[in-house]
């Protein structure tokens, strides 16, 4: 009588342990996965209850041109910091372009509400101190989900800390409304958070739809995206990591080499696909849904 009961308890305990304490398929880039998943859940909860509804209200109430102006205004405030990071990464030309962006948009663009610099062939860049650290040779370090801020890494978390020093709403000029400085800072920050989240509504809907496991999806996308940013859109090809089965040299996936005029051996594309690929392809071609 007693034994089945005990077994059940033991079984439940084991299941609970397996469920929360261990990760079945660890990603070497994510040694802190249990903690990260907990933070992820927490962020998700805050988002569902507070941030997302507010952002939806923001998008519902304000017409698109106004929201564009708000977005441009905050984007403009990032440009000096972006320019400085360009400089720290040794990219003088880009640094100058971004500095000019800030000047042009702040003046002719009426405090940054209009992004006229883009039309003047000074495109917006994406730089931050995490990228600067990467250019200086510091690796990602472990994946780390920050409370409220989301996907990051040990390196990029340090970057975020430094970035906060370059966040202009916190660096208001000394003469500006001395009595209400803190109120100004907080208001600007809150509006920025809301408008940022509002800009992401479509994207987060999409993530929700597309992902089998949002956590893994986001983690994977984070590393790809950061790598792309660090190399300013032209990352060197990764060594293939997917074909453990050795027979065929590596399916390429998204890390596929960028096209190069003088690149090595473009004719070696043939063996990238699994051996029975042709047969399946043929079968697929006959399917009605494809109708091509």
């Amino acid at each position: 009588m007693r034994r089945p009961w005990r077994l059940a308890v033991a079984g439940l305990a084991a299941a609970a342990l397996a469920g929360c304490a261990t990760v079945q398929n660890p990603d070497p880039r994510d040694p802190w996965e249990p903690m990260n998943r907990a933070t992820f859940e927490f962020n998700d909860g805050v988002d569902r209850v507070v941030l997302r509804p507010v952002a939806e209200g923001y998008r519902f109430v304000l017409p698109e041109p106004v929201r564009d102006g708000v977005r441009n205004f905050f984007a403009n405030l990032q440009d000096p910091w972006i320019a400085l990071n360009q400089l720290l990464q040794g990219k003088v030309e880009e640094a100058l372009s971004d500095a000019w962006r800030f000047i042009a948009n702040s003046t002719f663009g009426i405090g940054g509400i209009f992004d006229i610099a883009t039309d003047m062939r000074m495109p917006k860049h994406a730089e931050d101190f995490g990228q600067t650290l990467a250019v200086w040779g510091i690796d990602f370090g472990p994946y780390l989900i920050l409370p409220l801020l989301g996907p990051s890494s040990a390196r990029d978390a340090v970057g975020t800390l430094v970035n906060s020093q370059g966040y202009l709403p916190w660096q208001l000029p000394k003469w500006l409304d001395v009595d209400h400085r803190v109120a100004w800072q907080n208001s600007l920050t809150i509006v920025d958070v809301i408008q940022t989240r509002a800009n992401l509504l479509d994207a987060s809907d999409l993530l929700e739809q597309a992902a089998l496991d949002r956590y893994a999806f986001l983690r994977n996308a984070y590393f790809q995206r950061r790598r792309n940013l660090i190399y300013d859109g032209n990352p060197p090809p990764l060594p293939p990591r997917d074909e453990q089965s050795s027979a065929a040299p590596a399916a390429p996936g998204g890390d596929a080499q960028p096209p190069r005029e003088a690149g090595p051996a473009p004719q070696s594309v043939a063996p990238k696909v699994p051996t029975n690929y042709e047969a399946v392809l043929a079968a697929g071609e006959r399917r009605p849904a494809g109708d091509d």
């Binding site: 079945q24 398929n25 564009d68 984007a75 209009f114 992004d115 495109p123 917006k124 860049h125 994406a126 989301g150 996907p151 990051s152 940022t196 989240r197 800009n199 992401l200 479509d202 994207a203 987060s204 999409l206 993530l207 739809q209 597309a210 089998l212 893994a216 999806f217 994977n220 996308a221 984070y222 790809q224 995206r225 950061r226 790598r227 859109g233 074909e243 089965s245 399916a251 390429p252 996936g253 998204g254 890390d255 596929a256 080499q257 096209p259 005029e261 473009p266 594309v269 696909v273 029975n276 690929y277 399946v280 392809l281 079968a283 697929g284 399917r287 849904a289 494809g290 109708d291 091509d292």
Partner: protein
């Protein structure tokens, strides 16, 4: 981090490519034509702009799907597990994955708001059979989002087998999820999970 999320919209917005005599086109020409076609339709169709799912999906099926090689996409996303699947399983995987991508892509398309999409001239040799066509989505106030199409030459014209948005490849992003699922519940489990996901999306939206 925000930018990273935005990419997802474009990962799927990227799946745009057309049906017109595609065989003869260069890969970048093909991307350009399809992109223009799709945008033209969206711009004059109020129903699609308002989020009409059925119409958007129909547009994707007609203009975009013919230029994708979903079998190759699925095989790449499966990685080594592809060969462990039976032909029937492979076919089921392709079908479910295709459905999921079409749904998601349709959602992304309905988020289109007059952004300018510029297709870059192809940098490849004339006899290359595997190329990447690069394009950029421009929007004021944000850095351009890149849309890169990996394409292969087939007897039926150029076919897209991967799309990368802001450097995030669709195939690579799904690869981990697929591998995990196969490890935990097997190939059939993965098929079931995809089908379940598709079923949820169906009931939630229509």
């Amino acid at each position: 981090m925000q930018r990273r999320l935005v990419i997802f919209v474009w990962v799927f917005a990227a799946l745009a490519v057309p049906a017109a005599s595609a065989q003869e086109l260069t890969p970048d020409g093909l991307v350009k034509t399809v992109t223009q076609d799709v945008i033209a339709v969206i711009k004059q169709d109020k129903a699609i702009q308002a989020g009409d799912r059925k119409k958007t999906i129909a547009l994707v099926e007609e203009k975009v799907l013919p230029h994708f090689n979903f079998t190759r996409m699925t095989a790449l996303a499966m990685g080594p597990n592809w060969r462990k699947a039976t032909p029937e399983q492979q076919q089921a995987l392709v079908n479910e994955f295709r459905t999921l991508l079409v749904r998601t892509y349709s959602t992304a398309l309905s988020a289109y708001r007059n952004q300018v999409i510029e297709v870059k001239p192809l940098r490849a040799k004339p006899d290359d059979a595997d190329v990447m066509v690069r394009s950029e989505v421009k929007q004021s106030g944000t850095e351009p989002v890149t849309l890169d199409y990996s394409m292969e030459k087939t007897p039926n014209g150029w076919k897209v087998y991967d799309v990368a948005v802001g450097g995030v490849s669709l195939v690579t992003t799904y690869r981990d999820a697929f591998a995990n699922e196969v490890r935990n519940v097997g190939v059939d489990g993965l098929i079931k999970a995809l089908a379940e996901k598709n079923r949820q999306l169906e009931t939630k939206r229509s």
